[in-house]
């Protein structure tokens, strides 16, 4: 049974999505089904994580074809942890969508597509085959297109055109990389690739292919200079969709970069330098971009880019401690960014817009909510003992150890500029007096909500804040997980052994 556990996160989401499609015209049923299904998915994902934690890397050969010929699903600690986080965020957002998603949008199949997206994410984390990774990426982008355009407002469509074009191009680049890789090695299984690549004599072609992959994943991850689609589209959809995108979508790109550049093309030489410089520029332009924006949601969008720099910077240092820091930061970022975008949705309901200069006075009007909202904001800055602080310890330590002053400066710059931006957001939204704006007639404001609607907006935020507090207070647990992941990533032998030795163990 434990053998099958690894595919269950994907299957469960697929079954939920198809069931939801049958209830196309019944929004209320869909809402209940989605929450129940997501809860089941959380339980399954935690079972998977428990199994991986206790018994080591789990492998399933799809269709019972032996390893290099069929598609393998590989659940190592990194993949299992990310699947768990994905399912938690999915559950939270499916609760949040209760108030945030109007029934008209639900009737366009919002929940079904949402679960297809989660299926794609789980698949992308679990697969051990590079072409299968491409297929999951396509599942992700096609469902995210639909989510982005549901509602069909003018600005959404404009954002979707940009999002569509660049993501489509990145898939094409990724597929080009796969074609070249297959031509050179004759294999698509990541474990087998990691064995073949070192034996290839023509290092130039390997270098070229690795750079093609870097561009392909770089678009998804939002790296400099390929990030421009992100701030153009993330502020257009409803907050629930933005939260999902902001929390998880770019992290798939980062995950793919980490996987490919530890397992298939271990970082070295030129690639490492390129990645380091890109991380620096990503932090710089993301930070500066966030500084000049005047809309809270857009500030958060640019902050995503800025903080991708932390993870890529950690990867580019390529020591075990740096990877520990990068992975821990990724776990923290998924939760915090999803929370921030959900908070952005609450702001919209409170003020009728999300322009910084129109907002204010939150601390007077809603003191308890302000305290709740303060926790993720401060966690993002990394004020000890909140969760952003702990991964930075590892990252700073690693760059100091590696004698890499450049990365140290980049990390410090990123932390400082985040502090400035969050201080600005705090000043504008919580502290200063609100400017009088005309009330929109159509919009239902936060104070007009009844208790059920209010709790559907606040409880998800509360749940994620609890996760952040868990990260902060029991940081040693997460550090332990991250250390094991760092160890596994640096020693890819165990991954390869797990993929190929399955048959012997089973007998």
């Amino acid at each position: 049974m434990s053998e099958h556990l690894i595919i269950l996160p994907i299957i469960v989401q697929a079954i939920i999505a198809v069931t939801l499609l049958f209830f196309w015209r019944k929004p209320k049923t869909q809402r209940v089904l989605s929450i129940v299904g997501s809860s089941i998915a959380v339980i399954i994902a935690s079972m998977l994580f428990g199994t991986v934690w206790n018994q080591g890397t789990q492998v399933l050969q799809l269709g019972n074809w032996e390893a290099p010929f069929g598609i393998s699903l590989v659940g190592d600690t990194l993949a299992a942890a990310l699947v768990l986080l994905t399912s938690i965020v999915a559950l939270v957002i499916s609760i949040y969508s209760n108030t945030n998603m109007v029934s008209a949008r639900v009737k366009f199949g919002y929940y079904a597509i949402f679960h297809f997206l989660i299926m794609g994410l789980s698949g992308a984390f679990l697969t051990g085959d590079i072409f299968n990774l491409y297929v999951w990426f396509e599942v992700i982008i096609i469902s995210s297109f639909v989510l982005l355009t549901i509602g069909g407002r003018k600005i959404q469509i404009e954002g979707a055109v940009k999002y569509f074009t660049l993501n489509m191009l990145s898939s094409i680049v990724f597929l080009t990389g796969i074609a070249m890789l297959y031509g050179v090695t004759g294999s698509l299984n990541m474990a087998e690739l990691s064995q073949i690549i070192p034996t290839i004599e023509n290092k130039g072609i390997v270098q070229t292919i690795s750079l093609v992959f870097m561009i392909g994943f770089g678009v998804k991850a939002g790296l400099f200079p390929l990030y421009l689609w992100l701030p153009a589209s993330y502020h257009t959809p409803p907050a629930a969709v933005s939260a999902l995108f902001g929390g998880l979508l770019t992290k798939v790109g980062v995950y793919a970069l980490i996987r490919v550049f530890t397992l298939i093309f271990p970082l070295q030489g030129l690639n490492q330098d390129i990645l380091m410089i890109i991380a620096g520029f990503t932090v710089f332009f993301g930070g500066i971009g966030a500084l000049v924006q005047k809309d809270v949601i857009r500030v958060f969008s640019y902050l995503i880019i800025c903080h991708i720099g932390f993870m890529i910077g950690g990867l580019s240092l390529f020591t075990e401690i740096a990877l520990v820091g990068a992975v821990f930061y990724m776990f923290h970022d998924i939760i915090v960014k999803a929370t921030l975008f959900m908070i952005g949705g609450v702001f919209f309901r409170m003020f009728g817009n999300t322009k910084l200069y129109n907002m204010g006075g939150l601390m007077n009007d809603y003191p308890r909510l302000s305290l709740l909202f303060a926790i993720p904001l401060f966690a993002l800055v990394g004020i000890p003992p909140l969760s952003g602080f702990w991964p930075k310890l590892s990252l700073f330590g690693a760059s100091y150890q590696m004698n890499s002053i450049f990365m140290l400066v980049v990390f410090i710059f990123a932390s400082l500029i985040t502090l400035i931006i969050i201080a600005k957001v705090w000043n504008n939204v919580f502290a200063k007096n609100a400017r009088k704006t005309e009330k929109l007639e159509k919009l239902k404001y936060y104070d007009q909500f009844d208790l059920r609607e209010k709790s559907a907006m606040i409880i998800p935020i509360l749940m994620l804040v609890c996760v952040i507090l868990y990260y902060s207070i029991f940081a040693e647990h997460i550090q332990l997980v991250a250390e094991r992941i760092g160890n596994e990533l640096m020693n890819s032998d165990q991954y390869v052994e797990a993929v190929f030795n399955l048959k012997d163990e089973a007998k």
Partner: protein, 117 residues
């Protein structure tokens, strides 16, 4: 034959990029279609061309012998075609929608999402 296909791939890539850089939405989609076909051709080419040797095991034997066409690239291309079919049909619906809502075909006019205000 390989050289012809290689040139063809290059032409498709170049044409695709040229169309994407134009300002019209329709040409953007055409460019993406061309690039997608270029990639498919590239996969086919990278798998190596073998003429008239299907990978079918003869009845008296248990494994393939001699030179045979690699079936994997063809499976990959088939998958890629199916995926790009879905994406491109979505794209066409999207540009129709975009034309109706934004009332222009010009990509440069779609700059509302990047206004700082």
């Amino acid at each position: 034959m390989e050289i012809l296909l290689a040139i063809m791939t290059g032409v498709l890539y170049a044409g695709g990029i040229y169309f994407i850089l134009r300002r019209s939405l329709v040409k953007l989609i055409i460019g993406i279609v061309l690039l997608g076909n270029g990639v498919n051709l590239l996969i086919f080419l990278m798998g190596g061309l073998v003429k008239g040797k299907p990978p079918i095991i003869p009845e008296e034997s248990h494994h393939l012998e001699g030179l045979y066409a690699d079936p994997v690239p063809q499976a990959l291309i088939l998958t890629a075609i199916v995926i790009s079919f879905g994406l491109q049909s979505f794209a066409i619906v999207l540009i129709k929608r975009a034309y109706k809502v934004v009332k222009t075909d010009d990509i440069d006019a779609m700059n509302k999402t990047d206004d700082i205000e």
